[in-house]
């Protein structure tokens, strides 16, 4: 339908209500946080940002311990996914969830490459309805690579070791990943 003409199938008849409402709400949150009456945006105290950043930094050890636990569980679930093909979808769903947790906080604590590997693993795994043996191996490679990063405390982009791992995993995903589009 062109030129602004109406669609007769959805147009309201005489006496009927409009199809669409646009509801304006007062900005109560702005009032609550002390926004100025002139409507100009406010700011967050840089001291609060620094405080939050410092809080996170103090949790670095806890993050490392948590990631090791996550990777141990990831390895175990992967083993089960291999051993129990009938329950594989359930195990793979769990792998995606654990990997999502690793992805969430990796970069927060400086493990950029760890986050990237977790993200790549999920991106590879989610579109696969029933991964074959070779594709399952790619999943295992990602878990192994994440183990290496944490065991060797490889942060940031991972330097030469990290980039070599990244390159190998990328090739494996390209070769065995689900065809998109």
């Amino acid at each position: 339908m062109n030129g602004g003409a109406m669609n007769d199938n959805v147009k309201p008849g005489p006496g009927q209500q409009p199809l669409v409402e646009i509801i304006h709400r007062p900005n109560k949150l702005r009032e609550k946080v002390g926004g100025t009456a002139d409507g100009k945006p406010g700011r967050i105290d840089p001291a609060a940002i620094m405080r939050a950043t410092a809080h996170i930094a103090r949790l670095s050890d806890a993050h490392e311990a948590q990631t090791k636990l996550d990777l141990t569980e990831l390895q175990e679930i992967y083993r089960r996914a291999l051993a129990e093909p009938q329950n594989r979808p359930v195990h793979l769903k769990r792998i995606v969830k654990i990997s999502d947790g690793i992805l969430t906080l990796g970069k927060t604590f400086g493990y950029d490459l760890l986050s990237d590997f977790a993200h790549a693993l999920n991106h590879f795994l989610i579109p696969l309805a029933e991964p074959n043996t070779a594709q399952m191996q790619v999943v295992g490679l990602h878990i192994d690579a994440m183990q290496v990063l944490v065991r060797e405390n490889i942060k940031g982009d991972g330097g030469s070791i990290g980039q070599a791992l990244n390159s190998s995993l990328s090739m494996a995903r390209t070769k065995l990943g689900a065809k998109r589009g």
């Binding site: 062109n2 030129g3 602004g4 109406m6 669609n7 959805v10 147009k11 309201p12 009927q16 209500q17 409009p18 199809l19 669409v20 409402e21 646009i22 509801i23 304006h24 709400r25 900005n27 949150l29 702005r30 609550k32 946080v33 002390g34 926004g35 100025t36 002139d38 409507g39 100009k40 945006p41 406010g42 700011r43 967050i44 105290d45 609060a48 940002i49 405080r51 939050a52 950043t53 410092a54 809080h55 996170i56 949790l59 806890a62 993050h63 995606v96 969830k97 999502d100 947790g101 992805l103 969430t104 906080l105 990796g106 970069k107 927060t108 986050s115 977790a118 993200h119 991106h123 989610i126």
Partner: protein, 223 residues
């Protein structure tokens, strides 16, 4: 618009954090606390969040309302999208208009589009960082969008901007199909047939500003 330069005080805000990963949740709470958020409530999954919100809907008192929801996408039982749809379909205005931030590691176009079309307010692509969280808070406070109720959608206006458009006009709806209303004075639209029913608005409040309606209808061209 230039900043007022004033620092916001978040101690009056109450935020519901929903994530089934306890460690992620604790980090999120630590960030919010450090930013000065007054009250944080946790839920382990969408189902638990619904119970918390249901209680909040029943409570009547200043300072007891939840102001913002931060929820993970991947959760069981009831994931972030199911929770979001439940929130937007809730009968209480206290719940259905709540700002909803979806946190997800899967930020490809399909995932973001799904959240957007389910009525999300902001999308926080992981990894989580202080600046990510702070910027979503500022966006919710400083750039709130009107809500749109259409036959197949209820949530914040999905257009964040109005761009000049010179192309062919393909609108299906005209100004008479769109009504601009103020807080609380809206009607219910039957999502099955798209027709309005059970109008709750006083007759005098149903008058619309033709300029606003024209503008709203005009913006549909970009949808």
């Amino acid at each position: 618009m230039a900043s007022s330069g004033k620092y916001y005080r978040f101690d009056g805000l109450s935020i519901l954090v929903v994530d089934d990963n306890r460690f992620v949740r604790s980090i999120m709470l630590a960030v919010l606390k450090a930013l000065g958020i007054g009250k944080m409530i946790q839920a382990e999954n969408g189902e638990e969040a619904m119970a918390v919100l249901e209680v909040s809907a029943q409570m009547d008192g200043v300072g007891k309302d939840i102001d913002i929801i931060f929820a993970d996408h991947l959760m069981e039982p009831k994931d972030g999208i199911e929770l979001l749809r439940w929130v937007r379909a809730h009968e209480s205005d206290k719940i259905r208009f709540l700002p909803f931030v979806m946190m997800s590691g899967d930020a490809d176009e399909a995932a973001v589009r799904l959240a957007r079309d389910s009525g999300v307010t902001e999308y926080l692509a992981k990894p989580m960082s202080v600046m990510n969280v702070a910027s979503r808070l500022l966006s919710i406070i400083d750039k709130p969008r009107s809500f749109v109720r259409a036959p197949n959608y209820f949530g914040p206006d999905r257009r964040r901007q109005t761009l000049p458009f010179e192309g062919e006009d393909k609108r299906h709806l005209g100004p008479e199909d769109v009504r601009v209303v103020e807080d609380g004075a809206h009607m219910v639209i039957d999502s099955q047939n798209g027709m309005g029913e059970n109008p709750t608005k006083p007759a005098e409040a149903q008058e619309t500003d033709s300029d606003e309606v024209d503008d709203a209808a005009r913006q549909r061209v970009k949808a």
